[in-house]
């Protein structure tokens, strides 16, 4: 990647004005900020540009009709929607309780919930196997009592996605809910509202935008999930092969299908984030 940087920097350095021969001090100090900032932008934008440049646009529809593409997109959409639903249903009350708790237990819980954010997803996949696998602490009794096997199923895909995206959701929503003035809770309580009613009628509407952006974050994280999914749920077309897995597999024998699928994912992500930005995200 280092070869990319020298080519990009002069362009980004160019807007710096030079009113006098030599850089004035404000101009110089602005350049000091602009050069690394421009490099940062380049590092993010160039790979995306590369993806667009290498796409075989005239044949993109043909490439998108490769057999593994649509099952993967369909599975990705279904599982990520399920993941976001699980995050909202379980994560919102959790975020609310954390936002209003200030004990030692709460800060420990917050730290534990942050672990999947920093944990390599593959390690998360191994941990999921240890918990829900056929010989896992939860998986073994579930298999024995209910005859249900979790790995290699779409449920496992959702479990893996929830594991990695729920922390993002909870942290984002907790931040939004901390922003809800606690005195509203107190007033609502004196008006006779039970804690549940305070949550549904006061906290939820006031933290609405925060919940929406938390859901967008969680969805984006779930859509890109690879490591935990392939480790825990495996890779089987139509059942556990989500779009990122399909991209990885297709890259081995049909790179244009992989690129076309990547473009499709990029488009869907941009579309959803764009819609959310207009509505809720700042």
């Amino acid at each position: 990647m280092t070869t990319a940087t020298p080519g990009a920097s002069p362009e980004h350095g160019a807007p710096v004005r030079r009113p006098r021969p030599g850089l004035s001090r404000p101009g110089l100090s602005r350049a000091v900020l602009l050069v690394p900032a421009g490099l940062g932008v380049a590092l993010v934008v160039l790979p995306l540009v590369g993806l667009l440049l290498r796409t075989d646009w005239p044949r993109i529809l043909e490439n998108l009709s490769a057999p593994l593409v649509w099952p993967a997109i369909r599975l990705s959409l279904l599982t990520t929607l399920a993941t976001v639903a699980v995050c909202c249903v379980l994560g919102t009350p959790l975020a609310w309780l954390l936002a209003r708790a200030d004990g030692r237990a709460a800060s420990w819980l917050r730290a534990v919930l942050t672990v999947p954010v920093v944990l390599p997803p593959v390690v998360g996949g191994v941990a999921l196997l240890m918990a829900y696998g056929r010989r896992g602490v939860v998986g073994a009794p579930v298999l024995e009592l209910l005859g249900l096997r979790l790995p290699f199923t779409p449920t496992a895909v959702v479990l893996a996605q929830v594991f990695v995206s729920l922390p993002f959701f909870v942290l984002a929503v907790e931040g939004a809910m901390r922003g809800v003035d606690a005195r509203y809770d107190a007033v609502a309580a004196t008006l006779g509202a039970s804690p549940l009613r305070v949550f549904t009628r006061v906290a939820l509407p006031l933290a609405g935008p925060g919940i929406a952006s938390g859901a967008a974050l969680a969805w984006a994280r779930a859509l890109g999930e690879f490591g935990a999914t392939i480790t825990f749920a495996g890779n089987f077309e139509g059942r556990t092969q989500t779009a990122p897995l399909a991209v990885y597999v297709a890259l081995q024998n049909d790179p244009q299908a992989a690129i076309a699928l990547s473009i499709a994912m990029l488009a869907v992500s941009l579309l959803v984030l764009g819609l959310l930005r207009g509505r809720w995200l700042r």
Partner: protein
């Protein structure tokens, strides 16, 4: 070895870097600067990309080569043969490439493959692996037809997956496949963790897994033999020296010890 996922990152990065035309590296990065090609210079780095099934014997041989030639560093990256071939095609630096099966070689650019030195270093056969306690009761290839078994295969894009499909098709057995893993080590891992009742891997993988898995051999009549070709893209003495070690008698005995068949 349960973590396979991060492989995606270097693979994708290599593809994208090459896509941008920013990486001008040719497959052969080391130039033959020494007139004396017989003696390793003792200063070089040998970059090896090798099929995942070769992990144990090649690691041992690399350590031995480094010990015998102080100053030489052998860097090996193991992965699915096709992914590695893909990376070479996209310009990843490489001196030596060892593939499981010959199908992945088709992915290499023709000019690159044509100039390379080439030798077959080992052969392998397909074998069924089950957890040591054999929860599915597998004792033959035909047993894989049991729909209650959870069977894991390699993806059909990689040699071990192609080989498994070939064996199953020939035998007319349709197993209940729950996952097609991205390479042979990931496939075997599903068995060592007890998540699958059976997997189809290479004999050498069963040998290297030791007591973690139980092997069920497939008779030669139903089996396929996989050839391991090795290509070297440089005449650098360090590279040639390493290639000679792997294809020589010491290399062969290390590979046989690891469960491979002699070439």
């Amino acid at each position: 070895m349960t973590a396979r996922g991060p492989r995606a990152t270097p693979a994708a990065a290599a593809a994208i870097v090459a896509a941008l035309g920013l990486a001008a590296c040719s497959p052969a990065t080391t130039e033959d600067t020494s007139a004396d090609a017989e003696v390793p210079t003792g200063e070089g780095v040998v970059t090896v990309l090798a099929a995942a099934s070769l992990t144990e014997p090649l690691t041992a041989l690399a350590e031995r080569y480094e010990a015998d030639n102080p100053g030489v560093t052998v860097r090996i990256s193991f992965g699915s043969s096709t992914t590695l071939a893909q990376q070479i095609a996209e310009g990843a630096p490489v001196d030596v490439y060892a593939s499981a099966g010959e199908s992945a070689l088709d992915l290499l650019p023709e000019d690159v493959a044509a100039d390379a030195g080439r030798a077959t270093v080992a052969r392998n056969t397909v074998e069924i692996a089950t957890p040591p306690d054999d929860p599915g009761g597998v004792s033959s290839l035909a047993d894989l037809a049991d729909p209650d078994l959870d069977v894991v295969l390699c993806a059909d894009t990689v040699p071990c997956g192609k080989a498994a499909d070939e064996v199953l098709t020939a035998a007319g057995v349709t197993p209940n496949v729950v996952s097609r893993e991205v390479d042979v080590k990931a496939t075997l891992t599903k068995v060592t963790l007890g998540e699958a009742d059976a997997a189809m891997v290479y004999h050498s993988d069963v040998v290297s897994a030791g007591d973690d898995v139980r092997g069920v051999e497939i008779p030669d009549a139903d089996n396929v033999t996989l050839v391991y070709p090795m290509l070297w893209f440089s005449q650098d003495p360090d590279v040639v020296g390493f290639a000679d070690l792997v294809r020589g008698t010491d290399g062969t005995s290390a590979l046989v010890e690891a469960g491979f068949l002699a070439p």
